[in-house]
């Protein structure tokens, strides 16, 4: 098959491309330039759009003996990922830009362009597994967690639909990371020892608050307690995420002397609500814009595991899915569930659906009100 291998310049995507070559496919490497003015070189932590990364991807393609091109997706990336990221924070939510990039760039803009140019598959270095099953006589692709739980990226791929998964390949899903590095070294790929990227690629210094402050400016507002009393002030609600404790700098101590956490952000009044850790625990999640991996919407109520943040623990839950909403009831209340993040539903290791968290609540609190 003709395979388009997305090559970031890191070890994972290089080995993914190598495996597609080894499997006998006709592979072409493509590096996605996501910034108009790529920085020359970076030290320490790295992003995904420096000249050094582009060079590393090119050298890996040379070693593999495959054609290599750079595609400029900086306009799409700015519109669909960076601006969305800023707008979500401005609206009091906590977005996941990697997920958005997969949804809008890698498995949308790149996949569609690749398919039109005659490629059968897009291969990436994501850690996830694809299997095939037959449903009603139709062959369907299923998305599963990677075997290496520390590297599993199925959470940020849960937004992919059957149509997208059908033309995707994740050659690393069955391999632990250390084996991927060893394989890169055996193949003579210079990126074998290149550090993993951890940061948001368009914020290479890791200072998300500083980045948002430059984009959004100062937007001072009040910090209030659960009763609505003002207990402090903030320079911008985008500096906070539900569950956050640090950086509140509250002037008025809590009555019980216990630490306080961000419970919620209200964009309309630009207030940040704080309260005790116990008040963070929620067991109801309402999520919007659902995506499902199967061809048919698996509508209705089901039990399984849900994950509410990247690298979060799977939580037992019951969910009800429609074409427009995903309602989740957790078996046990959990903390730090932030609007804007994805809630991903799993049946065992298989991804069933993903949706964007819109609001949270607690059965106990509802009972109190009632």
């Amino acid at each position: 098959m003709r395979v388009l291998a997305a090559m970031s310049g890191g070890v994972d995507s290089a080995v993914a491309a190598a495996r597609m070559v080894a499997a006998g496919h006709d592979v072409t490497g493509v590096h996605l330039a996501l910034s108009k003015n790529p920085q020359s070189f970076r030290t320490g932590s790295r992003g995904c759009c420096s000249r050094e990364d582009s060079h590393d991807a090119r050298r890996a393609a040379d070693v593999l003996g495959i054609p290599f091109y750079v595609w400029d997706l900086s306009d799409r990336f700015r519109d669909d990922v960076v601006e969305d990221f800023v707008a979500e924070y401005a609206a009091g939510r906590t977005p996941n830009p990697c997920l958005r990039c997969n949804e809008k760039i890698k498995f949308s803009a790149v996949l569609e362009r690749g398919r039109a140019l005659g490629f059968d598959l897009v291969a990436t270095g994501h850690y996830a597994r694809l299997t095939e099953t037959t449903t009603n006589g139709e062959c369907e692709v299923r998305l599963h967690r990677a075997v290496d739980p520390a590297k599993d990226q199925s959470y940020v791929l849960g937004v992919l639909t059957q149509e997208q998964l059908r033309y995707s390949a994740f050659p690393l899903g069955d391999t632990p990371k250390d084996e991927v590095r060893a394989e890169a070294a055996r193949l003579g790929l210079a990126v074998a020892t290149k550090p993993d990227s951890h940061d948001i690629c368009f914020i290479p210094d890791g200072d998300t608050a500083g980045f948002l402050a430059r984009q959004l400016g100062e937007r001072p507002g009040d910090i209030v307690d659960e009763a609505g009393a003002v207990v402090g002030h903030h320079a911008g609600a985008h500096r906070f995420t539900v569950g956050q404790r640090r950086g509140l700098q509250l002037g008025t101590p809590a009555a019980d002397g216990q630490p306080r956490y961000v419970l919620g952000i209200t964009p309309v009044s630009n207030t940040v609500t704080v309260g005790p850790k116990a008040a963070l625990a929620v067991d109801r999640i309402r999520a919007i814009r659902p995506r499902w991996t199967a061809a048919e919407l698996p509508a209705g109520t089901a039990r399984g595991l849900v994950q509410v943040r990247a690298h979060g623990e799977p939580l037992p839950a019951t969910w009800t899915l429609t074409a427009d909403t995903l309602e989740v009831e957790l078996d046990t209340p959990a903390v730090g569930i932030a609007p804007g993040q994805a809630v991903v539903c799993y049946r065992g290791t298989e991804v069933v659906a993903s949706a964007t968290i819109d609001s949270t609540g607690s059965a106990a609190a509802d009972a109190d009100v009632a």
Binding site: R51, A116, L117
Partner: protein, 382 residues
């Protein structure tokens, strides 16, 4: 793998394959012992190879041997010409003029001079890429140090009326420089007859080795050196000279000069074939006024030139999107922008450039693959 098999190479304007005559000279003198500046027998032998190359080049370019200044290539020759002329300017002559479609070797040098305090201006071009001579007259009303206009554009092949530009520039008291890198081997060059003060050429665009070029500088024109050292090459360009590269350069230019009219006739036919085929393709057009038939710039509506390049590459055909890269990212062509095209249009242009290895079969292969490649790239456009 496709890249290892024979390719249809249509990117001679980027670099042209080494000619056998150049390879023979390079091989013959690669082991030559001696620094051409040394006084002993070995040094004299090296000097002899170098001077014979200089005389051969001078003869082919209508220049005196003393007017040939060897450089590392076209870029250095352009830098020396433009920056050196400005540094050597007479008091009060603070203006520097270059066309809006210069190669980066000139355009970026002019930009650096602007930062250094020069009154640097661009001479605009029309939609066909031809210099606006009325604008030139207006720009020359200020005392000008140097005017730099390329003989043949590297993206479109368009040739300028250099004789007229030279006449006007010199009448205004300015030195006149032409980047003739893409003219060499394709259009006749007669330095003496041209009246130019300075002219840049490069070896590898005509089948010479990469790493050598020359600035032709009239004997009574001494731009100030931009690199400092042993004072070789009339004190204009320091650095140990490379006799083997110079000999191979001269051999390539001799071969190109000998074959020039026959090559030009063939390339003119091929250019017509390409132009006819391109206009048959929906949204296809040829960009720029003619000049050197070796370069054909074409564009196709509703597609990315990048994608056409990828598809032709897959079909074994090497062409270019014809402009600068940042981290491998194809930037919209500033040349087409200067010709009034939008960013989008400037990303839709492809450069096909022919040279001494080009055959009928190459053009047939290109024209067989082009319509489907464009159709597919148009499908991939959103």
């Amino acid at each position: 793998m496709s890249s290892a098999t024979a390719r249809v190479y249509l990117d001679h304007a980027a670099t042209s394959p080494l000619r056998p005559q150049a390879r023979a000279a390079l091989t013959e003198y690669a082991g030559l012992v001696g620094n051409a500046s040394s006084l002993h027998t070995s040094g004299r032998r090296a000097r002899q190879v170098l001077e014979e190359a200089r005389e051969s080049l001078a003869a082919d370019l209508g220049a005196a041997p003393a007017e040939v200044i060897f450089t590392s290539g076209g870029t250095e020759a352009d830098n020396l010409a433009v920056q050196g002329s400005w540094l050597a300017r007479r008091p009060g002559r603070n203006r520097v003029l270059a066309s809006a479609i210069e190669h980066p070797a000139v355009a970026e040098t002019v930009g650096a001079l602007r930062t250094a305090g020069a009154d640097a201006r661009e001479i605009p071009v029309d939609a066909a890429g031809l210099l606006d001579l009325t604008a030139l007259n207006d720009l020359l009303t200020e005392p000008t140090a140097v005017v730099s206009v390329m003989a043949v554009n590297n993206e479109t092949g368009t040739a300028q009326d250099l004789a007229e530009v030279t006449r006007r520039a010199q009448a205004a008291g300015a030195w006149m420089h032409a980047d003739a890198v893409q003219a060499l081997g394709h259009l006749p060059i007669d330095f003496a007859a041209s009246g130019l003060d300075l002219l840049s050429v490069s070896a590898h665009k005509v089948g010479g080795p990469i790493g050598i070029g020359a600035l032709l500088a009239r004997k009574d024109r001494s731009p100030r050196p931009i690199g400092h050292g042993g004072g070789q090459e009339r004190d204009l360009r320091s650095g140990t000279l490379a006799p083997a590269l110079a000999a191979a350069f001269a051999a390539a230019v001799r071969a190109a000069t000998t074959a020039r009219e026959a090559d030009r006739a063939a390339q003119t036919r091929w250019r017509s074939r390409i132009a006819a085929a391109v206009t048959e393709i929906p949204g296809g057009r040829v960009n720029g006024a003619p000049g050197s038939p070796a370069i054909v710039n074409v564009s196709f509506a509703d597609c990315r030139a990048d994608d056409v390049l990828l598809l032709l590459d897959r079909a074994g055909i090497d062409v270019s999107t014809g402009s600068a890269c940042t981290a491998g990212v194809h930037q919209p062509s500033p040349v087409l922008a200067a010709m009034g095209r939008t960013d989008e249009q400037a990303r839709q242009s492809l450069r096909i450039s022919m040279g001494w290895t080009t055959t009928d079969a190459d053009i047939t292969a290109l024209l067989a693959a082009l319509p489907e490649s464009v159709a597919r790239a148009q499908l991939a456009y959103s």
